[in-house]
Symmetry: C2
Subunit: 206 residues, 2 copies
Amino acid sequence: MNNVQEESLRDQKKNRRRLQILEIARGIIATKGLRSLKVRDVAEAAGCSVGSVYNEFGDFDGVILTVNRETVQALTARLRGVPAEDPVRQLYGLAETYLEFFAEHANLLRSLFEHRMEDDRPYPDDILQMVMDAFALMHPPLVRLLPDADDVKIALLSRTLFSAVHGIISLGLEERMVAVPPQMLRQQVEQFIDAHLVGLGIVPPR
Amino acid sequence: MNNVQEESLRDQKKNRRRLQILEIARGIIATKGLRSLKVRDVAEAAGCSVGSVYNEFGDFDGVILTVNRETVQALTARLRGVPAEDPVRQLYGLAETYLEFFAEHANLLRSLFEHRMEDDRPYPDDILQMVMDAFALMHPPLVRLLPDADDVKIALLSRTLFSAVHGIISLGLEERMVAVPPQMLRQQVEQFIDAHLVGLGIVPPR
DNA sequence: ATTCTTCTTGAACATTGTTCATTTTCGAGC
DNA sequence: GCTCGAAAATGAACAATGTTCAAGAAGAAT
């Protein structure tokens, strides 16, 4: 009995096309924003019919959600790369990395956080879970810094910090709103964390 | 010479309809979200043709932007109502009021912050200015608390704090993401400000 | 080679934003 | 009041875009 998954010619083509569609969709979202993503454009660029896009992803939301899924995966991978020796440094590193990633892929992250489903269908659970997992990357350093805090408190705190940093970055990069230059934004985020760590009693005031 | 603006019957009808259209659009956005707002629904509910909506607002974005304009005005009015005797209390009050307002009008605020214009037309300046004015409500208490800080520093700090609180609240109320119960969210915001004010040296650690 | 299954296609449809020639309404001058 | 010109309202037609599906093409199985 052969356990190796033989990939038929059919599956090969299918997979290749699937990846191609995603790449094209991601490119359009990243450069021109989610609102500019059109089925026909994607189909044409991928050299297939609109029907095939539907065949592969169910509906157009399916394409968007798959791109979003990959976005949060890429983000998490980047965040996992932050060194963990010093917990304080790690927290700064996480924020800084989030800022970098957001600045590089602003439209992709907006798609992740702002996309509303048609009707009121629920957002897929697995994506929500992945976002939570990203949140959770702050748990270990926080636990090391606040050994007396219980899990619930840590979970709350990490979510609060993540949300706060997310707010600073997403509004800061919103060119239409304020357009903070990235370098200044970085400083802004740093000072924010400075103050907050002092406030939590994690770091002595300078 | 008569300075009183005579309102012709024509203008009366026009104004009444304009208000009616806005009311209906606001209602739909508030209850079903921006994505569910359709010209034909609005026109039908207002008892007029779609053409009249365009006649009055130019395009559909015009309706949305007018609703957004009124949302930020209502928000600012609410924030202005926060007592200003004690600057620390005022900061807490501003955050708490923002939370209340956001919880009451989540979809309206999302429309304000997330709506993207067609093509890449710029977001109207006057709305951006109003949002900045809302930010600026934190200036006076911050100046009182940090008398040695210069204006730029104050402006940066107020924007940072606003954005951070906005992030905590908007993600916190995003039922699909995390769904923090409002009461817990309130506590979360409070603790956040606690820590930050301590970190800024404004309030002694407890 | 034949048959069966599955995928692909793209025309047709549905929904929704937008335009504009026509009609209606209003106000002004008589 | 009546008439006429300007302004507004209308809604059918158009345009853009998501969605479906019957028919055909392509691959797999025998």
